[in-house]
Symmetry: C2
Subunit: 352 residues, 2 copies
């Protein structure tokens, strides 16, 4: 396959290579006639610019690098499970890249490495991405942010938890979402609602707890002692949390778990105690992982707009896409709307 080069196109169109380059880059001050000639030649030859040549010559690289955490990824690899978060993220980014003729490269970053700085610098030197998308926990790693700043490479941080002045921040309103799902339970008639939190080291966990507390307070409800228990986002901790919450009297009629895996654990715990869901107990989760849809009963939860966040990030990282954004849209801090998904695991509380 002797691929056509810019010289072939120029020859075919009877113009200089610079003119071809101008048309290809949509530069101003080009006559329509020239534009047409070049377009025709490009079409005739099935020409496409070489990514390497463009990057080498100094254009930005039309390449977005997604820096994902190696440890988390390896954990998923070992457990044989996929990584729903990662795949949704990618889909969102890919859809946008496609529009702009950009490419997505996925890179594993070992954020615990002592050579992180050097690893990162050499990675960037090697691939020279036009922009970088950071996923938690890389979104908040100071070394990662520093290196990117020094290299002058634009970056978008998905779900940042700190340094709210650096880079492009794309997130959802965790607190409001938690408040919404709590309100949903209260609207159904629940008064005694328990919560299982995520690890409080994550601000997402703290925000979800704050949303729960705010909603309860906003509706004049008190959270009895022991009605908030700690979890660590695992199925097991959800199960354990459910056992503790359901042992207390008067029993809670609803449990809000800070993620779906824990909510699934609650479902199992309830089943083990012979409690029907939602007849005896309503259960709500957070994230809308695939398993939430197929659990019995299916789980009421918050859909984290992961794909949408990645798409928003990509749109702000790719120059041509960014240019197409409306004025207000182009902000450096974007909050993407979530959705409350009401399924079968929540209902009215049992009669007293």
């Amino acid at each position: 396959m002797a691929t056509a080069t810019i010289y072939d196109v120029a020859a075919h169109a009877g113009v200089s290579i610079k003119s071809v380059s101008r048309v290809l880059n949509a530069e101003p001050n080009v006559s329509q006639a020239l534009r047409d000639k070049v377009d025709k030649a490009v079409a005739a030859l099935g020409y496409r610019r070489s990514l390497s040549a463009r990057t080498l010559a100094g254009a930005s690289s039309s390449l977005i690098a997604a820096l994902v955490d190696a440890q988390l990824t390896i954990e998923h690899w070992r457990s044989g499970r996929g990584n729903d978060y990662l795949s949704r993220l990618e889909l969102g980014a890919l859809m946008e890249c496609r529009q702009a003729d950009f490419h997505l490269m996925v890179e594993l970053v070992d954020h615990g490495s002592p050579d992180l700085r050097r690893d990162l610098m050499s990675l960037l030197a090697s691939i020279r991405p036009a922009g970088v998308m950071l996923t938690p926990p890389n979104s908040d790693h100071p070394v990662v942010l520093d290196v990117l700043d020094e290299a002058g490479i634009p970056y978008a941080r998905i779900g940042p938890e700190s340094d709210f002045h650096r880079g492009i921040r794309v997130s959802m309103d965790e607190q409001q979402a938690a408040a919404d799902i709590t309100d949903h339970l209260i609207d159904l008639g629940h008064r005694r609602i328990g919560m299982i939190t995520g690890p409080l080291g994550y601000s997402a966990s703290r925000l979800r707890l704050a949303g729960f507390e705010a909603a309860m307070k906003g509706r004049g409800l008190t959270i009895a002692p022991g009605m908030v228990v700690d979890g660590d986002f695992t199925f097991q901790s959800g199960l354990a949390g459910a056992e503790r919450l359901l042992a207390a009297e008067p029993r809670v009629t609803a449990i809000f778990a800070a993620n779906d895996d824990m909510a699934l654990g609650v479902l199992q715990g309830a089943a083990a105690m012979g409690l029907s869901v939602p007849g005896d107990l309503s259960v709500a989760g957070f994230d809308d992982t695939p398993s939430a849809l197929f659990s019995t009963p299916s789980l009421t939860t918050i859909r984290q707009p992961v794909a949408e966040m990645a798409a928003a990030a990509t749109r702000r990282l790719v120059p041509s896409l960014r240019a197409a954004l409306a004025q207000g849209e182009a902000a450096e801090a974007v909050v993407v709307p979530y959705a409350l998904i009401v399924r079968a695991s929540t209902g009215t509380p049992p009669a007293e």
Copy 2:
């Protein structure tokens, strides 16, 4: 960040750039002294070759492109669900790329496009990957294979269903896996076992059915009429299939669904009929999607080694990795072992 170039390294080491290049490429006929000097300079400068310059200058690109189906991906995007298959695939590929200092690029391919041939050629011209990984249904698309052959780019096909002489084929033994899970049910004491198949247009569906039939026959069991019903891999079709199978008398004591989503539908159908699983009915799936672990009861299933298949493919696509493979391992057709995962949805049949 003024990144170091090969000239900087050469200057630092007091040698020519060609020598640096030789050391970097592990070419023969290089003195140890020179090698040491260069290595030291590289380390001192934190030097890393530019991917673009290398590719442009003619070296193969140290880039693997995964060509995934755009339609499937967009469907997943719209439905808000992730894509477990894709993420497992990527993890496997990424882990291997990392070893070899290769990079993974994910590309959407619209296999229904009338311009597929041109799209593909220009994609390859643009990124010039050293190797390509094909996922279903691209694994079997003749145009895709043709273009790759013409371009002389090595490719690996995950789960190929035809053309068993082209490219590197990486698969698992679908039929044996189905036979294994059927044997598992028979070993538990089941005699009346129903099956819900996938769309028979896919050879994977046919192989799973063949495995079921072979196992039944191998154990001297007959498959009564109506004991095999068609499904289409969706939850809904699993539910419908269960309703049909469970309406027949004498009732089946076990159902093998050709994938997990359908098995989850069976679980729901059984629950709706007041049947306990596995007390009254055993249910087995296929794939080991994340939801299989969290369903109630958790699902006995076959773990598709998606990540392992991708890793095997990558190992055969990356020259340095391929060189490290043992003799027999290097075959162009690789069968990766699956695993039978016995969970809570299968047990001994109810007493007659």
